[in-house]
Structure formats: C-alpha cells, structure tokens
Symmetry: C2
Subunit: 187 residues, 2 copies
C-alpha cells in the first residue's frame, strides 16, 4: 500500500485525485467556479486584522466549521506604525511567490514531472509620491515587480520554465482586475 | 503631556510625524522610493512558506535586525492540499482590505478627520478553467473583486468616501503591473 500511495504522489500532489478533478471539471465546467473571501477590521494606525475562512467552490461552501486564519497587517515605524505584521504590499508580493510556486508544482505534477525544490524571492518598487498625492504621474501601487524562481528538477526544463504564467496571483497582478468598492457609512 | 500627545494622534497616526514626513518628501522626493521584498520556499504540495523581512525606503534598509515575519500558504483539500494556511489568492484580497483601510485612515488623519472604525469584507471570483488551461478565454486570476468598506465617522463623508483609491494594493490589483520573472534551474 505504501508503494501504491507513493506512485500516486508527485510533488506532494495526489495526481489520481488531480486527474479526477480535471475530468470532473471537463464534464461540468461549473465545478471550476470559486469565490474566495476575507474580512478585516481596523485596530489602530496602520494595524488592522483580517480573517480568512469560508469560500465557495465545486458547488459548495468550504471551511464552514474551521477556525478562521487570522492575519495582521501593520506598517513599520518609518511608515508611522508599530510593525505588528507585514504590510499589505508585502502580503501581496509574498502571495505572488506562493502562487507561482504552487502553480509550477501542480502543473508539473499533472505532466508527471518531479520537482525537487523551488525557492524564490521577489522585490517591488513603490514611490510614496503616488499614495501621498504629491505627483499625479506616479501610481500609488507597484511600479515594477521582479521575481526569481530557483527550481531544482531532473525533468525537462522547457516544460517547467513558463508554468508560473498560469498562476492566478501572477495573472491578477500583471493584468487589470475589475474591482467594485462599495463604501457604507455607519451611524 | 498626555493631552499634547493626544492632540497629535488622529486615527492612531502621529500627525506631527506624518506632516514632517510629507515635508521631507516634498523637499527630497527620493525619500519616497521604497522597495519591498519577500522570499519563499516550497514545502509540500500546495504548502509553501514565505519570509518577509528587510525592505528599503527613505534611503536606508529597515528591519535588518528583526526576526522575519513567517507566512504559510497552502491550499484546502478541495484544491488537493492540507489547508495549513490561507491560499495565495486569499492573501491577495486580504491585503486589498488592509491597504484600503490603512490608506483611508492615514489620509483622513492628514486632513484632521477622525474615523471611529472601519470594517470591511471582500470576495472575488476565480474560474479554475483558466489555471488548468482548459479554456483559453478564461484568465487564471480574479475575474472580478467586490469589496465593501463600512466606515464610522462624524467627519465629512464626501472627503472620506474615495480615499481608498490611493491604496497601493488597490492600484496594484486594478491596473496592470510589469512583472519580470527570472527562472533559474539549480543542479
């Protein structure tokens, strides 16, 4: 049994389950619709706290009974707060690394390609003149993001190299996303 | 002294320090250049771990002596992993909430407007047919993101309502960012 189990796992991904999932989605594309969510509340200054819990996907709600993941955002002293957590722009670029890594591992597994390791790093440039409204030609967000993926594999490099392009966060950051924001004032 | 301190703090932001920062940047825009960073390594399947530590800004390195913030990304069972943390697309939308909240509080403080509370929620749609490569017309990332900010303030609502638009993460997600990815294969 141990051996059977091992033959089905590539890069820590259960490829039999993955194949079943892909087949199910091909038969019923509605199974591929996911909706992810988060909540947040301000604490003080740059410090606020998010909770990540339920999401919808494959026609059902998930994590309904689980304790939420709790994430603290803060700003460092040079940005006038107390550094109780990474700041939101740091969360965004770590998500890029995490997503490119998982996407590469999963898509390689789907092709039967074993990856021994992935290490990565990222940096991105922000000019505060944008957020502060001091220069209308400067955007508030990242002007450029540079990432490096270091991949160890005995598999075909040409099939592995560009898999990160399917990463949902890579796509979300590199192409515009329609964002609808509703502001409500409470009494 | 207590009273003096209180008069300088609005929304938990030291407005005297904020005014000094803005004046310094106006005199020397180079002070506004920031570079944020993260590192990541794959653990198993959808589970990988980021570290967030040093960043550059205001002409110097910061957090050089501090322990890194450690963030675990994982995928839930329906996405074939063990749910050891939020997944990267959840990290991305919580960062949006955190950033819109901080931006609203800071920019309101700069105008002397007190905010009593901000609570927020967000959801976003992802169609896995994109990441899986099953439908070329479907993007891998978020197709749409919807957020709600609930703000409690006695201040002028028209001056508070749209401050979130200066949020660096809001801008980063809603407008395209150039991302350069270098893939290196290790022996």
């Amino acid at each position: 049994m141990q051996t059977m189990r091992e033959t089905k796992q590539i890069n820590g991904v259960d490829t039999a389950a993955m194949n079943q999932t892909v087949a199910a989605i091909k038969a019923d594309p509605e199974l591929a619709q996911f909706r992810f969510r988060a909540k947040n509340r301000a604490i003080r200054g740059g410090h606020n706290r998010s909770e990540v819990k339920e999401f919808y996907g494959a026609k059902q709600e998930h994590r309904t009974e689980k304790e939420p993941f709790v994430l603290d955002n803060d700003e460092p002293p040079v940005l006038l707060s107390e550094d109780a957590g990474p700041n939101p722009v740091e969360y965004a670029i770590q998500a890029l690394l995490g997503c490119m890594t998982t996407t590469t591992l999963y898509k390689a597994a789907a092709q039967g390609i074993e990856i021994e390791s992935i290490r990565s790093e990222v940096e991105g440039d922000i000019d505060l003149n944008g957020m502060l409204g001091l220069d209308r030609d400067v955007r508030p967000g990242y002007q450029e993001i540079r990432a490096k993926l270091r991949i160890k594999t005995k598999g075909p490099k040409d099939k592995v190299r560009d898999l990160y392009r399917y990463s949902p966060v890579y796509d979300t950051l590199s192409r515009p996303v329609p964002i609808k924001v509703e502001v409500q004032f409470e009494e």
